[in-house]
Symmetry: C2
Subunit: 362 residues, 2 copies
DNA sequence: GTTAGCACTCTCTCGTGTTGACTGCTAAAA
DNA sequence: TTTTAGCAGTCAACACGAGAGAGTGCTAAC
């Protein structure tokens, strides 16, 4: 980003040390502070000069004369760019994340919730997950299951979880019709995307042979139902925030008014969407937005870590962690990488497994 | 409860007025305060005497000499017992609650979450819902649906929502077997409870004829899976808390430390269970626990409103609203009554509908 | 039983003074 | 040229005390 200036080796070290220290302790960095953390061969006066210079360059700032210094957004940015090495996560958290992916034959929205839960727990910050492109998931199996309430359950098994939605149905349609319709959809759209199915099913209706005509009514309502699900998700439904309360653990949010402002944003789906508005820089797995880089007014003194789960270059889901600018960037980056990694494993697993099951309904 | 003392008509009126006023304004009640709210024909000195007397009886207390008075737990209790009339809810909230019950052909745990969400929104207080006896729900239909992941979905349609759970399955079992097993279970246990099914299915296994023997493996894992679901729910899984953050709206919880203590309890399933430990007084739809009546240490200056959804005298789910002792008891009572009422409607609807659908799988 | 009047109490707020932690700067030393 | 010691200056944080204001309890009169 702003790599025009090149810091001397010593300034570099001092800055990284200072930011790291501040992330841990949350209290302004003083010259003697820096000295005791690895610069015992220099006097505090010298370090004061260096800190002063770093301040002049915009990496640090003082809250008031005679106070220690805190990193600016530019300072954090420098730190993040410099330190992107992994930090080991607690094993129990890794296991927990892993377990979610193990038992993943649950509904996609549940998966999203659980991921948000676990990531929030792992990082101790509020976490939002946004599902944006479920239509791009690969269909593995489709089932339409009539219920007793005058509705039917649409179950679409995909490579990343089950999509499920309700549709109204007409009475007096024999069950076999639903089974046949399910089998038709499965065999026709297996390994295609949900979007393909929504788009192309109309074409199939036009050229339907005698045996397909009876599905017409079912397909119509089903497509309608999937479209509305897609719309709902596109509008706001695909957003979940979890662990909002963890914000209160940060000393910078002991002030309830400040905390409420952020929490209000997290509770408002359309504002969360803004966070994920633009595409991610595809060259890194995890990206950070710090301070004014965030396109939401009330989050100007926050930082957001983000990772996307991508299929064929398009992101299906985005995970975001919101915290103060003084957040544990290293730990968060490693947690996010791990989650995205689990997603990737999943995909490969599915490709490997492909075609070994005979699950067609009879 | 403590109805030993009988208050004079005037004291009664003053007390109710005072509590109501305090619930609205959250600032200690003064003598002139009471005077302006309907006692203009009395002097503040007289009212001071009355307030003094009410304090001596334990209904009110002063935070310090020369401050106004606030209700004690005993004062709130008196108020709650006296005023149990309904307060109209906002129509939009009624509609929202109603909508949940309309579209209820969703999974039971989702219903629980949504109810907690809506009640919390309606009352503006944190709300917990505890599902305790799903085994007592009436079975309407059972479906076992094999998935591609080596698992099968158990879908049990009941009179109050769908229970769904996963079970592992063995490969190479034809789909028809699952269909047959589903049909067998549905026809055998329709209108029985889930508990009945779990208990009696073993008996059926013993006297299984030739045609049932093939289901043996399926039933075994299914019962195991349902039992573990039942255990999970019994232990802690059936508890959801929603809207914890709304606690921060109350002036008594502006102090973060205080708020965190309560929120910690709400985040801890086993502590929530304690709240619902003892059975409800069956004579009223809504019951309140105030202050020391609550069996949880950290909630001693809270109040909890509770309603149960009962089937055949046994409660299936409990809803609890947690707030400061100064909560809007009337509004909360009416919200809870409405929710429970919707549950009851549901039951009647189901009984009326019984037997009109032909949803057996072919 | 009710009321006016008055003294009393306690919180809340605001201003003041003090302390302690850092810094910036300057001048000498390396 | 870089580093360092020393010192004056700055500011947050805390404690203290005075004054105002709100509300009470009590007493004596109605």
């Amino acid at each position: 980003m702003n790599d025009d200036e090149i810091l001397s080796e010593r300034k570099h070290e001092i800055l990284l040390n200072a930011v790291e220290e501040y992330i841990q302790c949350a209290s302004p960095i003083t010259s003697s502070n820096v000295r005791s953390k690895g610069f015992t061969d220099l006097s505090t006066a010298t370090l004061r000069n260096e800190l002063n210079a770093l301040e002049a360059m915009g990496y640090l700032r003082q809250l008031h004369t005679s106070s220690g210094r805190v990193p600016t957004a530019k300072g954090y940015r420098y730190y993040v760019n410099a330190i992107m090495c992994d930090v080991p996560l607690e094993k129990s958290i890794l296991d927990e994340i892993h377990a979610i992916f193990e038992n993943r034959a649950v509904y996609l929205d549940d998966v999203v919730n659980e991921i948000a839960d676990v990531v929030s727990k792992a990082t101790n910050y509020p976490t939002v997950v946004m599902l944006k492109g479920f239509e791009k998931l690969q269909i593995k199996n489709v089932k339409i299951i009539p219920l007793m309430t005058g509705q039917a359950l649409i179950l679409i098994e995909t490579n990343s979880g089950i999509i499920n939605n309700l549709m109204p149905i007409k009475p007096n349609i024999p069950n076999q019709t639903y089974v046949d319709a399910s089998n038709f959809l499965t065999s026709t759209f297996e390994n295609k995307t949900v979007a393909d199915m929504i788009k192309n099913i109309e074409g199939y209706r036009v050229q339907m042979g005698q045996e397909l005509v009876e599905f017409k009514g079912i397909f119509d309502t089903m497509i309608q139902s999937l479209k509305s699900l897609s719309d709902t998700i596109a509008q706001k439904g695909g957003v979940t925030a979890r662990g909002e309360l963890r914000l209160l653990n940060s000393p910078e949010y002991q002030d309830l008014e400040k905390a409420k402002k952020v929490i209000d944003v997290l509770t408002n789906p359309s504002e969360i969407e803004q966070i994920f508005e633009d595409d991610m820089d595809t060259d890194s797995e995890v990206s950070f937005k710090i301070g004014s880089e965030i396109p939401v007014v009330d989050l100007q003194d926050c930082a957001i870590a983000r990772a996307d789960y991508q299929v064929d270059g398009e992101s299906i889901a985005s995970i975001g962690i919101i915290g103060p600018q003084r957040m544990d960037y290293a730990k968060i980056a490693s947690a996010l990488k791990f989650v995205v990694g689990e997603f990737e494993n999943l995909k490969q697993l599915d490709n490997a497994k492909e075609g070994d099951g005979d699950n067609e309904q009879k």
